[in-house]
Symmetry: C2
Subunit: 398 residues, 2 copies
């Protein structure tokens, strides 16, 4: 069976369990023309894209129903994940209203969230459409946010999901090893990035996010800040070089950063200041990981690493310590982040077993460049374990 099909069965069953846990009667994913602005959770519900208004209705009582345009019906029926797939020609209103009147749910969870983009796949126009259809059958006041359901669904990774993420990490580490041999003084950021993209292509894979910044390669001091495309700037001896990179394997991503140092001709080891920066970062990663466990808030973990960096005399990094990873490099709701407006409620969420996070503190060493390591960890029943092989030493280029 295709991994897509396994996932859809796994996730639709998981959704029923989460509904039972939360006491919410049903969860509706309502979408249309999904190539244009589809719901990010559609991958857990359907094997491909859908054209017309489509509703996937999963109930606490275990019933799973899909209502889709006629041409999208057969592909869904083949899945055997739904009790019933209904196809319509002229419009979804009548079949959707009929089914919901039969179901009479107290609470109808739909995919919107101010906090979490991963739970915010319902567009405002589609919200209005659904609201009006429900108003006609007096159910419009039963709508609530599905954030709790969708977060759990994406965050509690199944063995199949963990396996794919591990594979993606393995390949990413392999490519980091290969590029280490390629890096040399005079090579440009663009050349190094291209070398890595060629490795991705050779394996028939795609990058974990857009190729213009995956890999991101930064060499030396005064580089552009993160999220910027590789430039024609050349690697130089005495400079730090860092890379942010990931691949996608069977729909799941890796997201890792590694830091290199180009030794001067008269150097046997990196200068003190570079070493101190590196050790600060590895300590921040390790202490953050050790503190992670189910039930703790993400902001507490962020604060541990942030404090290590600032107390060592460096400027605070202007981003969260870590995010979840899954089908996107940035996935899930709970975040190892500070309580800043842009992170909404995410840093307040509690860690749960099965979550996969990055840990990625950053600091700048004057005149040398940026040190940043990004590892990936899995939250277990009792703590958190590395999924990546953590960088313990600066990667030296001689």
């Amino acid at each position: 069976m295709a991994i897509t099909d396994i996932l859809i069965r796994e996730k639709t069953n998981q959704a029923v369990k989460i509904l039972q846990e939360t006491g919410i009667d049903c969860w509706i994913t309502f979408t249309r023309e999904t190539e244009i602005c589809g719901d990010p959770n559609l991958v857990f519900l359907a094997p491909g894209h859908l054209t017309w208004h489509s509703a996937f209705i999963i109930s606490r009582n275990g019933r799973k129903k899909a209502i889709v345009g006629l041409y999208d019906k057969k592909g869904l029926e083949d899945l055997a994940a739904y009790d019933q797939v209904e196809g319509y020609v002229t419009g979804i209103k009548e079949p959707l209203q009929t089914y919901l009147q039969e179901l009479q749910p107290e609470k109808i969870a739909i995919n919107y969230s101010k906090t979490s983009e991963i739970c915010d796949g319902l567009t405002h126009g589609m919200y209005l459409t659904l609201y009006e259809m429900l108003k006609e059958i007096n159910l419009e006041n039963h709508l609530i946010s599905a954030e709790e359901i969708v977060s759990a669904l994406r965050e509690r990774k199944s063995p199949v999901e963990i396996q794919a993420i591990k594979k993606a990490i393995e390949i990413t580490e392999e490519i980091f090893e290969q590029v280490q041999k390629f890096i040399a003084p005079g090579k440009t950021e663009k050349q190094m990035a291209q070398f890595m993209l060629d490795q991705v292509k050779k394996r028939g894979l795609s990058t974990a996010w857009g190729q213009s910044t995956c890999p991101a390669v930064f060499t030396g001091p005064d580089t552009a800040q993160a999220h910027y495309s590789p430039t024609d700037r050349q690697a130089e001896r005495g400079h730090i070089l860092n890379m942010d990179f990931g691949v996608r394997v069977e729909g799941y991503c890796s997201d890792l950063q590694r830091t290199f140092y180009l030794l001067q001709e008269n150097e046997n080891h990196p200068p003190e200041k570079v070493l101190k920066g590196f050790q600060t970062i590895t300590r921040a990663v390790e202490e953050a990981r050790q503190a992670m466990k189910p039930g703790i808030k993400g902001m507490e973990i962020d604060s541990i690493a942030r404090k290590i960096v600032t107390e060592a005399g460096y400027q605070e990094f202007p981003h969260a310590l870590g995010h979840q990873v899954g089908r996107f490099a940035h996935d899930g709701t709970a975040l190892l982040g500070p309580a800043w407006e842009k992170y909404a409620d995410k840093p307040y969420r509690l860690l749960e077993p099965g979550m996969v996070f990055t840990i990625e503190p950053r600091l700048t060493v004057e005149n040398r460049g940026v040190i940043t390591i990004e590892e990936m960890v899995l939250v277990t029943e009792t703590g958190a374990e590395f999924l990546s092989h953590p960088q313990r030493e600066l990667l030296l280029i001689t």
Copy 2:
């Protein structure tokens, strides 16, 4: 300059003109984590993906401002398409409120629409976020749908856009010619689809929509309906075979269908019933095209072709006669469609110069298969012209 950069300048300038035409003061595209559920119009506004809450504010007075997370700032500044790019660290609220208070717009258009998915890129959670920010500065009642602006922006194709679409059509037609030589009795739908995908790959391109149904290949009677993946069903003599296929070139799509007939060993030409069906379809395409001109409603065009098919004794096709094509195979708001619920107001929209439509009627010939042709046409100042080379004869496989 990259085509992306040209497009962004072209489209942001076009947006100012449309705002002046409509009398709307400003247009805001408000989005975050755009790899997850980005606004489909972001390609006209930014060269890549964005991580945090981002606002692109284009005003009737010609001012163009972007407010983005700090790490996304430099990539946008390089574009030189905005008067100002502001980067923030903790949250977008303060810079966004400050700018809008200065602007004091009467009407603020945002990307939501019940009718048109292409104008519905704002998620409901992001709508609520924006609404609350505006409420604090007493502007929440100034929000309106940007459907009029976004539709015009996507539908009025510039020369650069038409050029890319023409290129995509040319390559699609080339691949149809190649597959015609490959088709033979005994070849499966999957084999034929793979042949075409190999041609796409060889050219370093991607398909116009998801590969599982692009190409779609249907052979013989009682096939699955449109939008279904190719199967192991083999092409047989005496059957009709049809394909739905397109490629994406420089971000722009083609979407064409062609119909083939596999001659029996004792046949020199297709049977009467097949010919009659084919001629009905070509007549429907041609009469629809001839009726197209600026100012006419899409539903009037749909009705011409639909009537030709039903009056010839065939069942009505369960879909619109034609949709617009652009960055997606299904693009734009105005539709050559019937007044069915699922099409909302789209069929009532008036045709305008610069729109690119498909024309794709369909009918079934009993015991033989489905005849369907899909052409692409450009609406001009006075009528509509073919962009594709219209299929005038059944493509015969001997």
